[in-house]
Symmetry: C2
Amino acid sequence: MKKRILIPGPVELSPAVRSALATPMMGHRTPDFNAILEECWNGLRYVYQTKNDVAIITGSGTAAMDAAVSSVVSAGDEVICIGGGKFGERFPKIVRAFGGKAVNVPVEWGRAVSPADVESAVSKSDAVAITMTHNETSTGVLHDAEEIGRIARKNNMLFIMDAVTSIGGDDVRTDGWGVDICITGSQKCLAAPPGLGFAAVSERAWNVIENNSGKRGFYLDLASYRKSLKKSTTPFTPALSLIYGLRVALAELRAEGLENRIRRHRMLAAATREAALAMNLELFADPTHASNTVTAIKIPVGLTDSDVRGRLKDEYGILLAGGQESVKGKIFRIGHMANVDNVELLGVLSALEMVLARAGHDFTLGAGVSAAQSRLSSL
Amino acid sequence: MKKRILIPGPVELSPAVRSALATPMMGHRTPDFNAILEECWNGLRYVYQTKNDVAIITGSGTAAMDAAVSSVVSAGDEVICIGGGKFGERFPKIVRAFGGKAVNVPVEWGRAVSPADVESAVSKSDAVAITMTHNETSTGVLHDAEEIGRIARKNNMLFIMDAVTSIGGDDVRTDGWGVDICITGSQKCLAAPPGLGFAAVSERAWNVIENNSGKRGFYLDLASYRKSLKKSTTPFTPALSLIYGLRVALAELRAEGLENRIRRHRMLAAATREAALAMNLELFADPTHASNTVTAIKIPVGLTDSDVRGRLKDEYGILLAGGQESVKGKIFRIGHMANVDNVELLGVLSALEMVLARAGHDFTLGAGVSAAQSRLSSL
């Protein structure tokens, strides 16, 4: 049985990226390898829509979140942390792990943050930074980053944004929105293998980092990455194989074109949402702020996670993501990012319908696929 | 021109490891992937000669060094740091980065640490830990770990050892020597791709880590790795491709057998040292404490780094390592670890002789290769 993964990362790799991973080793302190890194930095700046330096960290997206927070914060510093999902709520944990004080802006899971709530928290705090997860992978919500960037700038706070599941799949204007430290990971919309985290850092943020005598960190101190960037290298031995793969993934992304790629993701997302509704399913995320890279769908009353995801995996070899933490067993999530295309999505939606029908869910077999077809042929 | 790398990591990968890197992605929170991780943990415990839990960290060897120090140290804690090379001297930098006080035990580069010096430092300190780099990659020195382990245990300090270029190539008795946190990296003697750091942690060390309320770290907090280990997983998305490669590299290591592998490395090292002397070259490291995985050789008076390494690279496609920091331009280093075999080493030594002869170095062409042949046929 052919296996398919449509989780919100890691994503399936293209054949060319997989082949690149098998490239022989080379010296990591050589002009030849520096040139490969330069290609990656160019590709990253393109997809980040930034002129900023981008640190390439061997580690997961969380390593890059840790690097952002720990490089900026000193013990006792306040940081305003926007919640609303597992990843947004990871920031306060990181802040506390480095002795900072997290000021939480709670957001109901499935809803988008209200900028007024952020303004209110900001007005009572002298925080050094605001953190937010742009596209909340755990809930399928896309928050409004531009507005938060404005609030941060107006109040002279740094804006640290986790864009792990938006960059490369949706519009992320790092410079245009004033994101001071913008984080992503390799294994999501960039369609590269997992194991690399990235942080694009503004001059404003470098200034804080390079003058932060109270920071705690060595491997994840962003200042080291900047020093090495100036010499076209990384401060520690990088994961060469993953860099080989990243280079090809970024070249494929550029060949598709960022605008086309964003449009493709938006079409896939709209088709998925419309199909779900036509299958008599309920969407978990506020439809005005739905993610374009991952869709969270409620498990219908009377059905269980194993009725849906379990059967899809066992009978069709399709891996979707389950709910996490407070929504475990209550939702399932379809990752339609990176290399997922129309045909694959239609096949998966068809299988989902067949599984739902067999589990006794009340809907018209074919209605979902038909809704998706309409959307996908509406170009 | 065929490229060959004989640097002390990253090392060339076997064809099977390279192919494994191209394995398709899978869900990283699935029983199938957990089983792959379990295979890796078994292989790691074998090569580490330990029963301890081994944390698999996506990051370089330095990430694992950072994790060891930052998980154990609180601000103000003293740590005794044995020097003697670039990597041993990295520990005090990490200790200071986390607010600890490094008590340096200086060691002349190229010499091994004197246990009496460590005893003396210990007697004046209430340090929480002693750090040492077992096989100092920058100088080609192998320190005596067993004795340091004894001192640490006697004084109730943790023993943190960087075994990045010894594990898998030389004898490292993690449990037998009482190494509390034993660190290695994937891209050295394990013959896996770079990007994974490992830390084997003793019960004594877990006890300190889990009760250390003053530690600073999130991504590199070893406590998280232990929690996940109990569920056969990792706390953050691992670099699946690298894990696929690691699994095969560890299986190849086990097929060779640890004893055979150590013997092979010792033979290659002895052959290299004897060849160097027969080429009228001087060894950098104290011959009583020479590394079995990397040999440091002085650049002869009158010759430059580019006369030796530059020409080897340009004319023969062979990459050797240069000197670092205070010995930059003064030594070159041959990494004879992981998959390097007799034939490859003999070819490289032959090329080295030809380069030296052309640069006017005074020796008998063929003498070095002949010495190596004698050693390698002495089995």
